[in-house]
């Protein structure tokens, strides 16, 4: 029993206003406080980002040095992941990634980065921590559901981690998990019917999706119900809008994948044929499925989620970048209203473009044509967002703080990602580029130097609020320049390789097809070296992140002189967030307003004419 429970008389009224001192478990583990849940999501998500990155580094080694044992840690890897993923080389040195191992690492890299890294950090962590503060709420509408969301997510993490250690290894059918491959994989007589990579993957995904659904209901309800007095819709910071639309995407796009996940689970555990076609022959033998199912059905259900999902990946990032740009250019966002409009159009259109991932399935000219048109249409709001952010820089007195460096780099990087998507939108071009490294380059530019840079920007921006300490500037710059240079070193050559025809799933770096791709195969080495150096560039960040918690420079309540409400709290904010009643009087970006006393006017500051009545709080306010 916790001390808190003991010190309270049993007849204590549950609804009193006393501040309970929560015990260790309630404060740090089973917390219902949105900030703690945000931090839990954030640290778990960052850890998974690192894990996913390591999987990728092993794959990159293999691509540059096919058939060679991973140096230094090969033996360790083989000991951990077992003989289905690693084998000794000809000389008996352990640690050569097998084809199965490569597929497994690839599938898990994609799954982990998307569903266990970016979404938990960009959406769940920042959303949980920042959104209630920004709208002046004391917590989420449903704190206990919020906690349930995190623990549901945690269970899904366990499923994914455990799946590496079952016989046969983790899932190997790609993050898209296309059947019939994903139906056949790990379903032999030797595999346990449940404890096998692919089944654990599907089960983990069902939990992950449930966590997202619980989270998104909470986000939307919070933004609608708990805005502080005066926080009208058009006074919401852009980040809140971004999270609002993202939550809707998750709410409506994820359930069909959950349905698909349940069906795949039925296929795997109960032998149904939702996705297994009639007359399937594997290795020359007929399979035990009754058939009649449709692999294409899975693709439809998967991409019905997964296209909106790519906007789930990017919109919170754009939101964070918008906040940071406004604050560091000391200038209102250019075209705030147009951006809000654009993000809604984007959200809507993202539901009707999914089959541009399926041009190769032969849907017919009419259907392909439809999706081609909608896909081209969706680039319009995307361009509006990027252009508005670019124009926001114009004429600003830019402070190149750490968050701002990442935010500025985000713009051209996201730009490259978006622009390279447009050729893919066209059926005729995509038939050639589909499943090549070009596509890998395209989406990594959007999510890696795009969203991940936005995440870094957000970490540098809000870290002071969460911990009360600033991150170190020098280490930050080291981190930034290293990341920017090497990340381009990895992803830019992908366009060249892809256009030359390098397929995205060759496990040997293309050695087998060397005749075809000779002119570009040499890039493999360059890209892999860049990947390792990018890894090295994260070391200053990791050090900075851990060291500054206790040793960083102390942060004031509003270290960036920002206007939005989250800076109107003590640092770090206590349980319940605010020490005063919050009333919002103005829009989110009143920077450099002509005639104002300072170059920023917080949203909570009452208009001048009212100052006389509110003299008392205003005298107290400048103290910080």
């Amino acid at each position: 029993m916790s001390t808190a429970a003991l010190t309270h008389a049993p007849d204590d009224n549950a609804h009193d206003d006393h501040h309970h001192d929560p015990g260790f478990w309630q404060k740090w583990v089973f917390s219902t406080d949105h900030k703690m849940i945000g931090i839990q999501y954030g640290t778990t998500g960052l850890a998974f980002l690192m894990f996913g990155f390591m999987l990728m580094m092993v794959m990159r080694w293999q691509l540059a040095h096919p058939g060679e044992a991973v140096p230094y840690i090969g033996g360790l890897l083989q000991a951990i992941f077992g003989s289905s993923a690693f084998q000794p080389d000809a000389k008996g040195i352990p640690g050569v990634l097998t084809a199965d191992g490569y597929n497994s690492f690839g599938a898990m890299h994609g799954t982990i980065m998307v569903f266990f890294g970016i979404v938990p950090v960009a959406f769940a962590a920042f959303g949980n921590f920042v959104v209630p503060l920004q709208i002046g709420a004391i917590d989420m509408t449903f704190p206990r559901i919020n906690m349930a969301s995190f623990w549901c997510f945690f269970i899904s993490c366990i499923f994914m981690c455990v799946s590496f250690f079952v016989p046969g290894g983790a899932a190997k059918s790609g993050w898209t998990s296309y059947p019939p491959l994903s139906g056949i994989a790990d379903s032999g007589a030797l595999n346990h019917f449940f404890m096998n990579g692919q089944t654990l993957w599907v089960t983990g995904m069902v939990f992950n999706i449930t966590a997202s659904l619980l989270g998104s209901v909470n986000f939307i309800a919070t933004i609608i119900q708990l805005r502080a007095p005066g926080m009208t819709w058009m006074r919401l910071p852009f980040f809140v809008w971004a999270q609002f639309v993202t939550a809707f995407l998750l709410l409506l796009a994820f359930p069909p994948l959950e349905a698909a996940g349940v069906m795949q689970l039925m296929d795997r555990a109960f032998g149904t044929s939702f996705f297994m076609p009639t007359g399937l022959i594997v290795n020359g033998a007929a399979t035990h499925w009754s058939g009649g199912g449709s692999p294409i059905l899975w693709q439809h259900l998967f991409w019905f989620l997964a296209h909106p999902e790519v906007y789930v990946l990017i919109l919170p990032g754009i939101g964070m970048v918008a906040e940071i740009i406004a604050c560091n250019t000391r200038k209102p966002l250019y075209g705030y209203k147009a951006m809000v409009g654009a993000i809604f159009v984007l959200g809507f259109l993202s539901f009707i473009v999914w089959a541009h991932h399926m041009y190769m399935t032969g849907m017919g000219a009419k259907v392909s044509g439809f999706f081609q048109v909608t896909t081209v249409m969706i680039s319009v709001p995307s361009v509006i967002l990027v252009t508005a952010l670019m124009l926001s820089l114009w004429g600003g007195s830019i402070r190149f703080t750490m968050p701002m460096l990442f935010a500025t780099a985000f713009l051209p990087m996201f730009g490259i990602g978006g622009l390279t998507g447009i050729p893919l939108a066209f059926n005729a071009v995509d038939l050639y580029l589909h499943d090549t490294y070009y596509v890998i380059g395209h989406f990594h530019y959007v999510v890696a130097p795009g969203t991940i840079f936005a995440i870094f920007a957000g970490v540098y921006h809000w870290y002071p609020k969460a911990t009360g300490r600033m991150l170190n500037e020098f280490l930050g710059r080291l981190h930034f320049w290293g990341s920017l240079i090497f990340i381009n070193g990895i992803f830019f050559p992908m366009f060249l390789q892809g256009m030359a025809g390098v397929h995205r799933r060759w496990f040997d770096g293309g050695v087998t097809y060397e005749q075809i791709i000779k002119p570009v195969i040499h890039w493999n080495n360059f890209m892999s070296v860049s990947a390792f150096l990018l890894g090295a560039a994260q070391i200053p960040f990791i050090i900075n992140f851990c060291w500054s918690i206790w040793n960083g420079r102390k942060a004031s309540d509003n270290p960036w002189d920002a206007t939005t409400v989250e800076w109107d709290t003590p640092t770090p904010p206590p349980h319940g967030n605010f020490t005063k009643e919050i009333t919002v009087h103005r829009g989110p970006y009143e920077y450099s307003v002509p005639g104002a006393d300072k170059d920023f006017t917080p949203q909570t500051e009452a208009p001048k004419s009212d100052k006389a009545h509110l003299a008392a709080p205003l005298v107290a306010a400048p103290a910080h």
């Binding site: 917590d139 509408t141 409506l252 698909a260 069906m263 039925m266 149904t272 939702f274 009639t278 439809h300």
Partner: protein, 350 residues
Amino acid sequence: MQIPHEVTARPDTGLYNAKLGIWLFLASEVMLFGGLFSAYIFLRMGAEDGYWPHGLLNVPVGAGNTAILIASSVTVVLAWASLKMRKFSQYKLWMGISILCGALFLIVKLAYEWPQKFEHFGAFIKKDAIEHYEKYLGNHHLKEKGLPPRVEISGHLHEVEIAADPAEKEKLEVFLKQHDLEAKPDEHDAKLQIVCSEKKDKDGKREGIRPGVAEDLEKVPGVKLIAFELGLDPINAAPDNPESDKPHFLYKGPTETPGKIERKDVEFYSSFAPKHSSYFAVYFTITGLHGLHVLAGVLIMLYFWLPIEGGANMFKRNPEHLANRVEVVGLFWHFVDLVWIFVFPIFYLL
């Protein structure tokens, strides 16, 4: 710390938190079942001729269950209205009825509808053997009438005929014993020819052999299935009877008319389990998921009905809060009801 608008509506949105929450949740539920229903459409449109069965479900039972659910949707509204009028005993009554209806629905599913499927046997006939089974399939007759052909023979599995390798006899005997199977060896044959069926029950009624057991039997080393002997479903018993052209409205179980199918002519056989066909796959997935929703609804309603903190005891402290809770579960219950209104026609009638 008290979250605002937990009980009273926020003036500009007109909603209290949980009501908004449940509407959002239901929106996602619509997409969840939407995904499953689109799978139904996709699979049905893609099914080859004859592979989408009709008339296998008991329409009157399904209709009865539909009525039960609709009634409970009404009573849950009455329960909420009683709370709004602060009439506690009426609330207990109406809520109690709603809970009973939900439970009854589940009992019908669990005790009758689902288990029955696992007793029923169906075998899809290989394309080149279809002609051979014309007497059960009646395809000539159907062709004349311009109806889609039949490819499956179904009924109750009475006996299976197997050939066993004498060398592996022990494993077979263990299996027979485990599953309480009766074996009648055919002495005349050089090989060990056996006919298996499950033992008769106390009343001497023949139980037949469950299809799942037949599948397992086939996996026993040295065992080869030769033929199935079954009591045919009415359609296969009298395939040319015009009455069988359309699915029967009133469900008719398998007859005692014997039929025999050779294992070598069978493409795929099983009970009417999920793996049997796309039809049963979607049937079990959708009704299963729907059943889970019913179960959840019943448990939550029970929670609000029982005299506990957070449940009916709330009436004294904060009746409006209890009314809100009942309204929210009521909305959920209407949704569950609505899903069934779609499930019933697409599986039972169409």
